[in-house]
Symmetry: C2
Subunit: 269 residues, 2 copies
Amino acid sequence: MAGTDHRRCAAGGGPAIILVEPQLGENIGTAARAMMNCALDDLRLVRPRDGWPSAKAIAAASGADRVLDRARLYPSVAAATADLVHVYAATARERGFVRRIVTPRHAAAEMRRHIAADEPCGVLFGPERTGLLNDDLTHADTVLTVPLNPGFASLNLAQAVLIVGYAWYLGGSQMPPETLSTGLSRPASKAELMNFFEHFEEELVKNGFLRNRESRPSMVRNLRSLFQRARCTEQELRTLHGVVTAFAGRRERKGEMPETEPAEHEAQD
Amino acid sequence: MAGTDHRRCAAGGGPAIILVEPQLGENIGTAARAMMNCALDDLRLVRPRDGWPSAKAIAAASGADRVLDRARLYPSVAAATADLVHVYAATARERGFVRRIVTPRHAAAEMRRHIAADEPCGVLFGPERTGLLNDDLTHADTVLTVPLNPGFASLNLAQAVLIVGYAWYLGGSQMPPETLSTGLSRPASKAELMNFFEHFEEELVKNGFLRNRESRPSMVRNLRSLFQRARCTEQELRTLHGVVTAFAGRRERKGEMPETEPAEHEAQD
């Protein structure tokens, strides 16, 4: 999906993303891209297997260089989490020992409160093949588990980072659940809509569509309901006026009636 | 992240995922994997550029073969959406024309209602490089936009499918936002906790830690508060009893006092 506007890049300040012994440079790159999608910029790498910096990571990051440039290397999970107050361990595996387990959405809400209280947070992600070790989990206070198909719950590294990051980003997103994008126009007022209804129904009377006086009121109600639901813009109503006028004109021509004055309502599309 | 239990694979029945002219087989494979993570199994392909079936798709699907095996090919978006009642177009790009725009979470809630009412749904995803064309959008009633960093909103195909699928899956997930996994043990009762407090504090009186009678009540409250917050299991309390007994025994030996009866509370770990 496109839609990037580089002037509007959101600032960081979110949790640290800590990749423990990541195996492939590509996965570090795609994880960095997922972080930047979600306005996260604190990437920490604990003993990346194939060394650092990594050309493969840069190639896979698709432009998320800023995250890679700022990435820091650590010799151990202890070192990578030393300055943090709250650490979550991303794992889906049942460990058989006592753990608080939260969903990404719940973790995101907690982390927003912690970070607002100046308590830095981080999330640990394990190596691609094995995931986090039980010893890694001793550095975390909480387990973060993504609810997924129990028959197929394995995510690749970048996808796990994306799910966690997206939950974080959503927690601060102002995007309303539903909007009507009206492009360059504006939503029509009810007066404009009624004006169209009158034009439309006048022509439907003329062309005989509404000739049955008994069914006319319900027919009119149904047609009006359709256009109400469509939540037309002012521009769309002008287009619809033009459509009605064009039909009316053709009917008049077909009926060999003289053409009258030019269309009163013109489309501008 | 590991944690897959193949006996518990969730059934499908969700929206169709429609990939319009996908370019790379790998991306079809990773999209199929993301679908299976989210218990989606209706994959539709409109004119995949590199042909179908695709060995690269199978390799990238990491075991989501069932989704690929069931995938259907279509010559056009119209054909791929013909049996659907509600179609969402995943795009982040501003189109400049009138569109209802919803978030993945809102779309997921709508789709669950639609599907429960036997009204099949689908989501269109465009080619990797360009995304959906304006003409593709004429087959959709609604635009689905993922709220992401406005400075870096471009997702790869599988990640876009994962975000949409995950929102769908979450809408039906019973996973509580927070749980305490107690492994093989069970949460301790308050009676068990009080029994530990008594043992602990008795030894702290003996070893002189609570010798200051004035500060003793607040000291006791603070220590009790810590163990209350930790929400111990019955097994953990037995371990803690053992820890206290071990310290008390060492002190008694160091003080050259005769060893008394064997530890009353033993750890079993």
